[in-house]
Assembly symmetry: C2
Protein backbone atom coordinates (compact mmCIF):
# COMPACT_ATOMS: atom_id res chain seq x y z
CA UNK A 1 0.00 0.00 0.00
CA UNK A 2 1.36 3.43 -0.92
CA UNK A 3 0.84 5.86 1.96
CA UNK A 4 1.01 9.64 1.97
CA UNK A 5 4.34 9.36 3.74
CA UNK A 6 5.67 7.10 1.01
CA UNK A 7 4.51 9.59 -1.60
CA UNK A 8 6.10 12.49 0.27
CA UNK A 9 9.33 10.51 0.69
CA UNK A 10 9.34 9.70 -3.01
CA UNK A 11 8.75 13.35 -3.83
CA UNK A 12 11.62 14.55 -1.64
CA UNK A 13 13.84 11.85 -3.11
CA UNK A 14 12.94 13.04 -6.62
CA UNK A 15 13.87 16.59 -5.64
CA UNK A 16 17.15 15.48 -4.08
CA UNK A 17 17.95 13.40 -7.18
CA UNK A 18 18.25 16.67 -9.10
CA UNK A 19 21.64 17.02 -7.36
CA UNK A 20 22.92 14.93 -10.28
CA UNK A 21 22.21 17.93 -12.50
CA UNK A 22 23.65 20.54 -10.09
CA UNK A 23 26.38 22.77 -11.47
CA UNK A 24 28.86 21.41 -8.92
CA UNK A 25 29.41 18.72 -11.58
CA UNK A 26 30.07 21.18 -14.42
CA UNK A 27 33.60 20.95 -15.89
CA UNK A 28 34.24 24.60 -15.02
CA UNK A 29 33.41 24.02 -11.34
CA UNK A 30 35.46 20.83 -11.33
CA UNK A 31 38.45 22.77 -12.65
CA UNK A 32 37.79 25.58 -10.15
CA UNK A 33 37.81 23.19 -7.23
CA UNK A 34 40.87 21.36 -8.55
CA UNK A 35 42.79 24.64 -8.55
CA UNK A 36 43.09 24.73 -12.33
CA UNK A 37 41.56 28.12 -13.12
CA UNK A 38 43.69 31.10 -14.07
CA UNK A 39 43.31 34.43 -12.35
CA UNK A 40 41.48 35.80 -15.41
CA UNK A 41 39.10 32.84 -15.45
CA UNK A 42 38.26 33.31 -11.77
CA UNK A 43 37.70 37.01 -12.39
CA UNK A 44 35.38 36.23 -15.28
CA UNK A 45 33.40 33.84 -13.10
CA UNK A 46 33.08 36.36 -10.25
CA UNK A 47 32.07 39.23 -12.56
CA UNK A 48 29.51 37.13 -14.43
CA UNK A 49 28.12 35.56 -11.30
CA UNK A 50 27.63 39.05 -9.87
CA UNK A 51 24.84 39.50 -12.39
CA UNK A 52 23.14 36.49 -10.80
CA UNK A 53 23.80 37.70 -7.26
CA UNK A 54 22.27 41.10 -7.82
CA UNK A 55 19.16 39.56 -9.39
CA UNK A 56 18.46 37.23 -6.45
CA UNK A 57 16.61 39.75 -4.22
CA UNK A 58 14.42 40.73 -7.18
CA UNK A 59 13.66 37.04 -7.80
CA UNK A 60 12.73 36.64 -4.14
CA UNK A 61 10.58 39.77 -4.24
CA UNK A 62 8.76 38.34 -7.28
CA UNK A 63 7.95 35.26 -5.19
CA UNK A 64 6.64 37.48 -2.38
CA UNK A 65 4.54 39.44 -4.87
CA UNK A 66 2.84 36.23 -5.98
CA UNK A 67 2.47 34.65 -2.54
CA UNK A 68 -0.83 35.15 -0.68
CA UNK A 69 0.41 33.37 2.48
CA UNK A 70 1.51 35.92 5.06
CA UNK A 71 3.36 33.34 7.16
CA UNK A 72 5.47 32.28 4.16
CA UNK A 73 6.14 35.92 3.26
CA UNK A 74 7.30 36.71 6.79
CA UNK A 75 10.08 34.13 6.46
CA UNK A 76 10.84 34.63 2.77
CA UNK A 77 11.48 38.37 3.15
CA UNK A 78 14.59 37.49 5.19
CA UNK A 79 16.24 36.33 1.97
CA UNK A 80 15.88 39.81 0.50
CA UNK A 81 17.36 41.36 3.62
CA UNK A 82 20.23 38.83 3.60
CA UNK A 83 21.19 39.78 0.05
CA UNK A 84 20.52 43.52 0.05
CA UNK A 85 21.65 44.13 3.63
CA UNK A 86 20.13 46.80 5.82
CA UNK A 87 22.92 49.38 5.57
CA UNK A 88 25.97 50.31 3.51
CA UNK A 89 28.59 47.58 3.72
CA UNK A 90 26.11 44.85 4.68
CA UNK A 91 24.45 42.04 2.76
CA UNK A 92 25.31 39.30 0.31
CA UNK A 93 25.60 41.54 -2.76
CA UNK A 94 28.13 43.67 -0.90
CA UNK A 95 29.99 40.51 0.20
CA UNK A 96 30.15 39.41 -3.45
CA UNK A 97 31.60 42.80 -4.44
CA UNK A 98 34.29 42.28 -1.78
CA UNK A 99 34.99 38.85 -3.27
CA UNK A 100 35.40 40.59 -6.61
CA UNK A 101 37.87 43.06 -5.12
CA UNK A 102 39.78 40.15 -3.56
CA UNK A 103 40.21 38.54 -7.00
CA UNK A 104 41.38 41.85 -8.48
CA UNK A 105 38.22 43.38 -9.97
CA UNK A 106 37.09 46.94 -9.39
CA UNK A 107 33.56 47.54 -8.15
CA UNK A 108 32.59 49.58 -11.16
CA UNK A 109 33.54 46.87 -13.64
CA UNK A 110 31.20 44.50 -11.82
CA UNK A 111 28.41 47.03 -11.38
CA UNK A 112 28.46 48.23 -15.00
CA UNK A 113 28.18 44.60 -16.18
CA UNK A 114 30.87 45.02 -18.86
CA UNK A 115 32.11 41.45 -18.35
CA UNK A 116 28.67 39.82 -18.34
CA UNK A 117 28.32 37.53 -21.35
CA UNK A 118 24.98 37.09 -23.16
CA UNK A 119 24.43 33.48 -22.08
CA UNK A 120 24.68 34.48 -18.42
CA UNK A 121 22.29 37.36 -18.92
CA UNK A 122 19.75 35.14 -20.70
CA UNK A 123 19.91 32.44 -18.03
CA UNK A 124 19.58 34.84 -15.09
CA UNK A 125 16.80 36.83 -16.76
CA UNK A 126 14.98 33.55 -17.44
CA UNK A 127 15.15 32.76 -13.72
CA UNK A 128 13.65 36.15 -12.81
CA UNK A 129 10.92 35.70 -15.42
CA UNK A 130 10.17 32.24 -14.04
CA UNK A 131 9.71 33.66 -10.53
CA UNK A 132 7.49 36.43 -11.85
CA UNK A 133 5.26 34.36 -14.06
CA UNK A 134 5.02 30.83 -12.66
CA UNK A 135 2.90 29.83 -9.63
CA UNK A 136 4.73 30.93 -6.48
CA UNK A 137 5.11 27.35 -5.14
CA UNK A 138 6.99 26.37 -8.31
CA UNK A 139 9.23 29.39 -7.87
CA UNK A 140 9.89 28.28 -4.30
CA UNK A 141 10.75 24.79 -5.60
CA UNK A 142 13.20 26.30 -8.07
CA UNK A 143 15.18 27.70 -5.11
CA UNK A 144 15.88 24.19 -3.84
CA UNK A 145 19.31 24.06 -5.45
CA UNK A 146 20.15 25.39 -1.98
CA UNK A 147 19.77 21.79 -0.82
CA UNK A 148 22.98 21.07 -2.71
CA UNK A 149 24.80 24.36 -2.12
CA UNK A 150 26.46 23.78 1.27
CA UNK A 151 28.57 20.86 -0.02
CA UNK A 152 29.75 22.95 -2.96
CA UNK A 153 30.44 25.96 -0.72
CA UNK A 154 32.51 23.88 1.68
CA UNK A 155 34.48 22.34 -1.18
CA UNK A 156 34.97 25.75 -2.79
CA UNK A 157 36.18 27.37 0.43
CA UNK A 158 38.74 24.60 0.89
CA UNK A 159 39.84 24.87 -2.74
CA UNK A 160 40.22 28.66 -2.61
CA UNK A 161 42.31 28.53 0.54
CA UNK A 162 44.45 25.70 -0.84
CA UNK A 163 44.96 26.57 -4.50
CA UNK A 164 44.28 30.28 -4.86
CA UNK A 165 46.32 31.66 -2.02
CA UNK A 166 46.69 35.00 -3.82
CA UNK A 167 43.05 35.70 -2.84
CA UNK A 168 42.70 37.40 0.55
CA UNK A 169 40.61 34.98 2.70
CA UNK A 170 38.73 38.05 3.98
CA UNK A 171 37.13 38.11 0.54
CA UNK A 172 35.46 34.73 1.04
CA UNK A 173 32.82 35.96 3.51
CA UNK A 174 29.98 35.37 1.05
CA UNK A 175 30.67 31.63 0.90
CA UNK A 176 30.96 31.39 4.69
CA UNK A 177 27.62 33.19 5.19
CA UNK A 178 25.90 30.86 2.72
CA UNK A 179 27.11 27.81 4.66
CA UNK A 180 24.80 29.02 7.42
CA UNK A 181 21.99 30.63 5.38
CA UNK A 182 21.47 28.00 2.68
CA UNK A 183 20.39 25.15 5.01
CA UNK A 184 17.97 27.46 6.83
CA UNK A 185 16.54 28.64 3.50
CA UNK A 186 16.29 25.19 1.94
CA UNK A 187 14.62 23.79 5.10
CA UNK A 188 11.91 26.42 4.76
CA UNK A 189 11.52 25.99 1.01
CA UNK A 190 11.30 22.20 1.34
CA UNK A 191 8.63 22.59 4.03
CA UNK A 192 6.60 24.92 1.81
CA UNK A 193 6.92 22.68 -1.22
CA UNK A 194 6.01 19.44 0.58
CA UNK A 195 3.00 21.15 2.21
CA UNK A 196 1.68 22.59 -1.04
CA UNK A 197 2.51 19.88 -3.55
CA UNK A 198 0.26 16.90 -2.79
CA UNK A 199 -0.83 15.61 -6.16
CA UNK A 200 1.48 13.85 -8.65
CA UNK A 201 0.97 16.78 -11.02
CA UNK A 202 2.00 19.35 -8.41
CA UNK A 203 5.00 17.27 -7.41
CA UNK A 204 6.08 16.82 -11.01
CA UNK A 205 5.81 20.59 -11.53
CA UNK A 206 8.04 21.19 -8.48
CA UNK A 207 10.68 18.73 -9.72
CA UNK A 208 10.52 20.36 -13.15
CA UNK A 209 11.03 23.79 -11.53
CA UNK A 210 14.13 22.54 -9.72
CA UNK A 211 15.36 20.95 -12.94
CA UNK A 212 14.86 24.29 -14.70
CA UNK A 213 16.93 26.02 -12.00
CA UNK A 214 19.71 23.46 -12.47
CA UNK A 215 19.63 24.37 -16.18
CA UNK A 216 19.98 28.07 -15.30
CA UNK A 217 23.09 27.48 -13.20
CA UNK A 218 24.60 24.99 -15.66
CA UNK A 219 23.97 27.24 -18.63
CA UNK A 220 25.70 30.13 -16.85
CA UNK A 221 28.84 28.04 -16.45
CA UNK A 222 28.67 26.90 -20.09
CA UNK A 223 28.66 30.55 -21.16
CA UNK A 224 31.42 31.59 -18.75
CA UNK A 225 33.56 28.58 -19.65
CA UNK A 226 33.29 29.33 -23.35
CA UNK A 227 33.93 33.05 -22.89
CA UNK A 228 37.19 32.67 -20.97
CA UNK A 229 38.51 29.35 -22.28
CA UNK A 230 41.73 30.89 -23.58
CA UNK A 231 42.44 33.24 -20.69
CA UNK B 1 13.88 81.62 -16.91
CA UNK B 2 12.63 78.25 -15.81
CA UNK B 3 15.21 76.55 -13.57
CA UNK B 4 15.46 72.90 -12.56
CA UNK B 5 14.23 73.90 -9.12
CA UNK B 6 11.18 75.59 -10.62
CA UNK B 7 10.48 72.47 -12.66
CA UNK B 8 10.86 70.25 -9.60
CA UNK B 9 8.63 72.57 -7.57
CA UNK B 10 6.02 72.50 -10.30
CA UNK B 11 6.23 68.70 -10.42
CA UNK B 12 5.76 68.31 -6.68
CA UNK B 13 2.89 70.80 -6.81
CA UNK B 14 1.25 68.75 -9.57
CA UNK B 15 1.59 65.61 -7.44
CA UNK B 16 0.17 67.36 -4.37
CA UNK B 17 -2.72 68.73 -6.44
CA UNK B 18 -3.95 65.15 -6.82
CA UNK B 19 -5.18 65.53 -3.22
CA UNK B 20 -8.29 66.98 -4.86
CA UNK B 21 -9.01 63.49 -6.18
CA UNK B 22 -8.17 61.68 -2.92
CA UNK B 23 -10.88 59.45 -1.48
CA UNK B 24 -11.05 61.59 1.65
CA UNK B 25 -13.52 63.63 -0.42
CA UNK B 26 -15.70 60.66 -1.38
CA UNK B 27 -19.28 60.89 -0.04
CA UNK B 28 -18.80 57.60 1.86
CA UNK B 29 -15.74 58.94 3.70
CA UNK B 30 -17.51 62.22 4.36
CA UNK B 31 -20.40 60.34 5.95
CA UNK B 32 -17.94 58.13 7.89
CA UNK B 33 -16.17 61.11 9.36
CA UNK B 34 -19.48 62.88 10.13
CA UNK B 35 -20.57 59.89 12.21
CA UNK B 36 -23.35 58.94 9.79
CA UNK B 37 -22.47 55.32 8.99
CA UNK B 38 -24.37 52.43 10.48
CA UNK B 39 -22.60 49.55 12.20
CA UNK B 40 -23.25 47.35 9.15
CA UNK B 41 -21.83 49.98 6.81
CA UNK B 42 -18.66 50.32 8.88
CA UNK B 43 -18.33 46.53 8.94
CA UNK B 44 -18.70 46.37 5.16
CA UNK B 45 -16.01 49.02 4.75
CA UNK B 46 -13.59 47.23 7.10
CA UNK B 47 -14.15 43.81 5.48
CA UNK B 48 -13.77 45.16 1.96
CA UNK B 49 -10.79 47.30 2.78
CA UNK B 50 -9.13 44.19 4.27
CA UNK B 51 -8.80 42.91 0.72
CA UNK B 52 -6.77 46.03 -0.05
CA UNK B 53 -4.69 45.75 3.14
CA UNK B 54 -3.64 42.19 2.49
CA UNK B 55 -2.62 43.03 -1.07
CA UNK B 56 -0.33 45.91 -0.06
CA UNK B 57 2.77 43.81 0.81
CA UNK B 58 2.43 41.96 -2.51
CA UNK B 59 2.20 45.31 -4.32
CA UNK B 60 5.34 46.47 -2.51
CA UNK B 61 7.13 43.21 -3.32
CA UNK B 62 6.22 43.72 -7.00
CA UNK B 63 7.95 47.11 -6.84
CA UNK B 64 11.03 45.49 -5.26
CA UNK B 65 11.03 42.81 -7.96
CA UNK B 66 11.18 45.52 -10.65
CA UNK B 67 13.67 47.80 -8.88
CA UNK B 68 17.38 47.43 -9.74
CA UNK B 69 18.46 50.03 -7.12
CA UNK B 70 19.68 48.26 -3.99
CA UNK B 71 19.52 51.44 -1.87
CA UNK B 72 15.85 51.95 -2.76
CA UNK B 73 15.09 48.28 -2.07
CA UNK B 74 16.74 48.46 1.35
CA UNK B 75 14.27 51.13 2.42
CA UNK B 76 11.25 49.86 0.50
CA UNK B 77 11.39 46.39 2.07
CA UNK B 78 10.46 48.01 5.40
CA UNK B 79 6.94 48.53 4.02
CA UNK B 80 6.53 44.79 3.58
CA UNK B 81 7.74 44.16 7.11
CA UNK B 82 5.42 46.87 8.46
CA UNK B 83 2.39 45.22 6.88
CA UNK B 84 3.23 41.55 7.30
CA UNK B 85 4.90 41.89 10.70
CA UNK B 86 7.76 39.68 11.80
CA UNK B 87 5.82 37.38 14.13
CA UNK B 88 2.29 36.29 15.01
CA UNK B 89 0.28 39.22 16.31
CA UNK B 90 2.48 41.86 14.66
CA UNK B 91 2.09 43.97 11.53
CA UNK B 92 -0.46 46.13 9.77
CA UNK B 93 -2.56 43.29 8.38
CA UNK B 94 -2.93 41.89 11.88
CA UNK B 95 -3.81 45.38 13.17
CA UNK B 96 -6.54 45.60 10.51
CA UNK B 97 -7.94 42.22 11.61
CA UNK B 98 -8.12 43.60 15.15
CA UNK B 99 -9.96 46.64 13.81
CA UNK B 100 -12.38 44.20 12.20
CA UNK B 101 -12.91 42.40 15.49
CA UNK B 102 -13.49 45.75 17.20
CA UNK B 103 -16.31 46.55 14.73
CA UNK B 104 -17.86 43.10 15.28
CA UNK B 105 -16.45 40.98 12.46
CA UNK B 106 -14.89 37.57 12.91
CA UNK B 107 -11.42 36.95 11.49
CA UNK B 108 -12.59 34.17 9.23
CA UNK B 109 -15.23 36.30 7.53
CA UNK B 110 -12.52 38.81 6.63
CA UNK B 111 -9.98 36.20 5.62
CA UNK B 112 -12.36 34.19 3.43
CA UNK B 113 -13.32 37.40 1.56
CA UNK B 114 -17.05 36.62 1.64
CA UNK B 115 -17.93 40.30 2.02
CA UNK B 116 -15.60 41.56 -0.71
CA UNK B 117 -17.62 43.04 -3.57
CA UNK B 118 -16.48 42.74 -7.20
CA UNK B 119 -15.71 46.43 -7.66
CA UNK B 120 -13.28 46.34 -4.73
CA UNK B 121 -11.62 43.20 -6.04
CA UNK B 122 -11.22 44.71 -9.53
CA UNK B 123 -9.76 47.96 -8.21
CA UNK B 124 -7.27 46.29 -5.84
CA UNK B 125 -6.23 43.72 -8.42
CA UNK B 126 -5.68 46.56 -10.91
CA UNK B 127 -3.34 48.19 -8.40
CA UNK B 128 -1.31 45.00 -8.00
CA UNK B 129 -1.16 44.57 -11.78
CA UNK B 130 -0.01 48.17 -12.14
CA UNK B 131 2.87 47.58 -9.70
CA UNK B 132 3.84 44.37 -11.48
CA UNK B 133 3.73 45.66 -15.03
CA UNK B 134 4.54 49.38 -15.04
CA UNK B 135 8.05 50.84 -14.62
CA UNK B 136 8.98 50.70 -10.94
CA UNK B 137 9.28 54.50 -10.57
CA UNK B 138 5.67 54.89 -11.72
CA UNK B 139 4.61 52.28 -9.18
CA UNK B 140 6.48 54.25 -6.51
CA UNK B 141 4.65 57.40 -7.64
CA UNK B 142 1.32 55.59 -7.32
CA UNK B 143 2.05 55.11 -3.60
CA UNK B 144 2.07 58.86 -3.04
CA UNK B 145 -1.52 58.95 -1.86
CA UNK B 146 0.37 58.56 1.43
CA UNK B 147 1.10 62.27 1.13
CA UNK B 148 -2.57 62.83 1.84
CA UNK B 149 -3.19 59.96 4.26
CA UNK B 150 -2.12 61.47 7.60
CA UNK B 151 -4.79 64.19 7.49
CA UNK B 152 -7.45 61.58 6.73
CA UNK B 153 -6.14 59.26 9.46
CA UNK B 154 -6.19 62.04 12.06
CA UNK B 155 -9.72 63.05 11.04
CA UNK B 156 -10.84 59.42 11.07
CA UNK B 157 -9.37 58.72 14.51
CA UNK B 158 -11.17 61.75 15.94
CA UNK B 159 -14.42 60.74 14.22
CA UNK B 160 -14.24 57.14 15.46
CA UNK B 161 -13.62 58.20 19.04
CA UNK B 162 -16.37 60.83 18.90
CA UNK B 163 -19.16 59.16 16.93
CA UNK B 164 -18.57 55.43 17.05
CA UNK B 165 -17.97 54.95 20.76
CA UNK B 166 -19.15 51.33 20.53
CA UNK B 167 -15.78 50.55 18.89
CA UNK B 168 -13.04 49.65 21.38
CA UNK B 169 -10.30 52.31 20.87
CA UNK B 170 -7.77 49.46 21.18
CA UNK B 171 -8.97 48.44 17.74
CA UNK B 172 -7.75 51.67 16.14
CA UNK B 173 -4.04 50.81 16.34
CA UNK B 174 -3.71 50.54 12.55
CA UNK B 175 -4.66 54.19 12.05
CA UNK B 176 -2.30 55.33 14.81
CA UNK B 177 0.62 53.40 13.30
CA UNK B 178 -0.03 54.91 9.87
CA UNK B 179 0.12 58.44 11.33
CA UNK B 180 3.81 57.69 11.94
CA UNK B 181 4.58 55.39 8.99
CA UNK B 182 2.86 57.26 6.15
CA UNK B 183 4.96 60.46 6.37
CA UNK B 184 8.18 58.40 6.51
CA UNK B 185 7.04 56.36 3.50
CA UNK B 186 5.84 59.31 1.44
CA UNK B 187 9.06 61.24 2.16
CA UNK B 188 11.05 58.36 0.70
CA UNK B 189 8.72 57.86 -2.27
CA UNK B 190 8.75 61.59 -3.07
CA UNK B 191 12.56 61.59 -2.94
CA UNK B 192 12.73 58.62 -5.32
CA UNK B 193 10.21 60.11 -7.74
CA UNK B 194 11.79 63.57 -7.85
CA UNK B 195 15.25 62.03 -8.37
CA UNK B 196 14.12 59.74 -11.19
CA UNK B 197 11.53 61.87 -12.99
CA UNK B 198 13.41 64.72 -14.69
CA UNK B 199 11.77 65.07 -18.08
CA UNK B 200 8.23 66.42 -18.61
CA UNK B 201 7.24 62.98 -19.92
CA UNK B 202 8.53 61.19 -16.82
CA UNK B 203 6.86 63.72 -14.55
CA UNK B 204 3.56 63.42 -16.42
CA UNK B 205 3.75 59.62 -16.08
CA UNK B 206 4.29 59.97 -12.32
CA UNK B 207 1.31 62.30 -11.94
CA UNK B 208 -0.78 59.90 -14.04
CA UNK B 209 0.28 57.03 -11.78
CA UNK B 210 -0.84 58.93 -8.70
CA UNK B 211 -4.08 59.85 -10.45
CA UNK B 212 -4.60 56.14 -11.23
CA UNK B 213 -4.09 55.29 -7.55
CA UNK B 214 -6.67 57.92 -6.57
CA UNK B 215 -9.05 56.17 -8.98
CA UNK B 216 -8.35 52.83 -7.28
CA UNK B 217 -9.22 54.18 -3.83
CA UNK B 218 -12.23 56.17 -5.07
CA UNK B 219 -13.60 53.23 -7.04
CA UNK B 220 -13.36 51.01 -3.95
CA UNK B 221 -15.56 53.43 -2.01
CA UNK B 222 -18.04 53.66 -4.90
CA UNK B 223 -18.41 49.88 -4.81
CA UNK B 224 -18.67 49.69 -1.02
CA UNK B 225 -21.08 52.60 -0.87
CA UNK B 226 -23.36 50.97 -3.45
CA UNK B 227 -23.16 47.56 -1.82
CA UNK B 228 -24.25 48.69 1.64
CA UNK B 229 -26.43 51.71 0.86
CA UNK B 230 -29.50 50.22 2.54
CA UNK B 231 -27.81 48.69 5.57
Amino acid sequence: MVTDTDTADGFVAALRAQSQRYHALHPFHRRMNAGELSRRQLQSWVANRFYYQQTIPRKDAAILANCPDREVRRRWVQRIIDHDGTADGAGGIEAWLRLGEAVGLRREEMEDERHVVPGVRFAVDAYLTFARTRPWVEAVASSLTELFAPDLMAERLAAFERYYDWIDPQGLGYFRARLRQAPRDSDHALQVVTEHCRTPEQQAAAVAALSFKCDVLWSMLDAIDRACADQ
